[in-house]
């Protein structure tokens, strides 16, 4: 997955867990929490979906690395380097 694909993967997961949110105008550098409603229950879901779709484990102490789309790409990029993007699952 490229860096852009990691961002697509995260957006696709958010779209799955929050179908009523508008995601087109998300700023990649701003905290996700400040732009759309995501609470700790939702972050659990993002982590569970990452595990389910891409087999990647995010330990609880690293949840903070998922704060913005840019930080997601920084943190997940190396872990997903050799994994293919799946969207719309």
């Amino acid at each position: 997955m490229t860096r852009d694909e990691v961002i697509l993967a995260i957006k696709d997961i958010i779209e799955t867990i929050a179908p009523d949110e508008e995601l087109d105008s998300l700023d990649v550098d701003e905290r996700l929490r400040d732009q759309i409603e995501l609470d700790s229950m939702d972050f659990l879901d993002i982590v569970m979906e990452l595990r389910k779709r891409y087999g990647v484990q995010v330990p609880e102490e690293d949840y903070k690395e998922l704060a913005s789309l840019t930080s997601c790409a920084d943190y997940l990029g190396p872990k997903l380097e050799n994994v293919e993007l799946k969207v719309g699952v």
Partner: protein
């Protein structure tokens, strides 16, 4: 022996179905066992004479418009991946709290309730503002103090006794298992769910909502077995290594699982664990409060025959509200206060053509339970007698539907006990809630009524949060 499940859920009510969806969503092998032939538990439906009667649904509290942030309904939809539009919620017209000397209206706009308080109790406006501030600041993530009661807290803000009684009435009826009072944290949660959020009704009643949940659960691979009462919760290991291992059904079949989540209530659940754990259930764990319900179907809508537009009327016929289970004997109910509601008085794309009014009264569970066992004819006669007395009382506060009646149905605490398995038909379960869902047996957890969240939305959130906490968190 069948393959082991990740989790067995006891009860296909709102909490069990919601927990099931969460677990199935993350590929857990999950089985829901329901002893009744229909799902829904306390919020179910039945057919009589070609009509569908809802059991528990007076109103769906916690209404919020699509996308409203930080409220229970939005969290719930998110967690179950259900679209707001799938619920087909119609908002209430308005509701009211009716006492002989004063009536307060409220709607899904908080400003109406504020202005009603200002009109009726001008000297309480400041106190009420401070009360709402305290309630809105209340953080639902902080572990609440379950022993703190609402009457004591209300007295810090409201000095007019009548207003205290008027504020207590709806909150007690909507969820208190404690006679005469309600836990402060529950009061705060309910207050927000009523006045800041609001009431709505899923179009078509509870059944489409249940269908939606069951369909979603099954599409994710979840298994649901009806008429499968649990006789025993199986255990493995000994001493500190003891844990839940599965269940034995009433027909003798044994099914194994890593975890068991039960919505059967604390007492019945522990009694399923055998004599030793069952013996630890105390009176404090057994609820008392229960209700009789009278449903009247009319040939005209309540608006047409009585100019009645309220979704719900909470009434009390004196200046003091006495919330407790009436003593057995007499009518078997307390006719002095109650809840009147009409599903006609919600927005709907296809309005109901018949009129519906539902009347709910505090009832003595032992009165109806003993009577049903002793004498079926007398039980039926007394049920009608109690209904007539209650309709007489309620018609002081809302129009009497009986002149327009085309059908009626009645139920008692005995009906609730038979269909939901709550001992004594205790609708709101045990006075003592177990907010973390933990029991003395590792691997066995509570959800639903005795875990402590209230209403249709609350029950589903209970199932969701217990599934997340005990089955899905990475540390679990």
């Amino acid at each position: 022996m069948s393959e082991k499940y990740d989790a067995i859920l006891i009860g296909a009510g709102m909490s069990g179905l919601a927990a099931g969806i969460r677990l199935a969503q993350y590929d857990k092998r999950v089985l829901i066992l329901e002893k009744h032939y229909l799902w829904g538990g306390l919020n179910s439906f039945y057919k009589r004479r070609g009509r569908i009667f809802d059991v528990g649904l007076h109103a769906l509290t916690n209404f919020a418009p699509k996308g409203r942030r930080g409220v229970p309904l939005t969290k719930l939809l998110r967690q179950l991946r259900i679209r707001h539009s799938d619920l087909q919620l119609g908002e209430q017209n308005y509701s009211e709290i009716a006492f002989p000397t004063e009536r307060l209206r409220f709607s899904n706009e908080f400003e109406l309730f504020e202005s009603e308080i200002a009109r009726a109790f001008p000297d309480q406006v400041d106190g009420f503002a401070k009360l709402t501030e305290a309630i809105f600041a209340y953080d639902s993530f902080t572990p609440p103090d379950p022993d703190l009661l609402a009457r004591g807290e209300l007295a810090k803000f409201i000095t007019e006794p009548l207003l205290v009684e008027m504020l207590m009435l709806p909150m007690c009826y909507y969820g208190s298992a404690i006679p005469g009072d309600i836990a402060w944290y529950q009061f705060a949660i309910l207050f927000k769910s009523f006045y800041d959020e609001g009431f709505a009704r899923p179009e078509g009643g509870i059944r489409p909502l249940l269908d939606l949940l069951v369909k979603r659960y099954k599409s994710l691979g979840g298994e649901l077995r009806m008429k499968s009462g649990v006789a025993e919760i199986l255990q493995q290991g000994a001493g500190s290594l003891r844990s839940a291992a599965g269940v034995r059904l009433e027909n003798g079949e044994e099914i194994f699982a890593d975890q068991v989540l039960s919505s059967a209530g604390f007492g019945p659940t522990m009694e399923m664990c055998g004599a030793e754990l069952g013996a630890r259930v105390t009176d404090e764990d057994r609820g008392q409060l229960s209700f009789n319900e009278t449903v009247i179907v009319t040939d005209k809508t309540p608006m047409d025959f009585g100019n009645y537009g309220a979704a719900i009327t909470f009434f009390n016929d004196s200046d003091t509200f006495d919330y407790r289970c009436p003593a057995p004997g007499g009518l078997g109910i307390d006719p002095r206060s109650g809840v009147i509601c009409s599903p006609n008085n919600y927005a709907a794309t296809e309005p109901l053509t018949e009129g519906w009014m539902r009347f709910t009264a505090l009832a003595s569970a032992s009165h109806w339970g003993d009577l049903a066992q002793a004498d079926a004819t007398e039980y039926a006669t007394q049920k009608q007698r109690a209904a007539e007395a209650f309709l007489d009382s309620a018609s002081r506060f809302a129009p009497d539907p009986r002149p327009f009646e085309i059908d009626r149905d009645l139920f008692t605490p005995n009906t609730i006990r038979r269909f939901c398995g709550h001992p004594k038909g205790a609708v709101y379960g045990a006075p003592k809630k177990r907010l973390d869902g933990a029991t003395e047996l590792p691997g066995l957890f509570l959800m639903g009524t005795d875990q402590g969240l209230l209403g249709v939305v609350g029950a589903m959130l209970s199932g969701i949060s217990m599934a997340n906490r005990h089955c899905l968190q990475p540390t679990a």
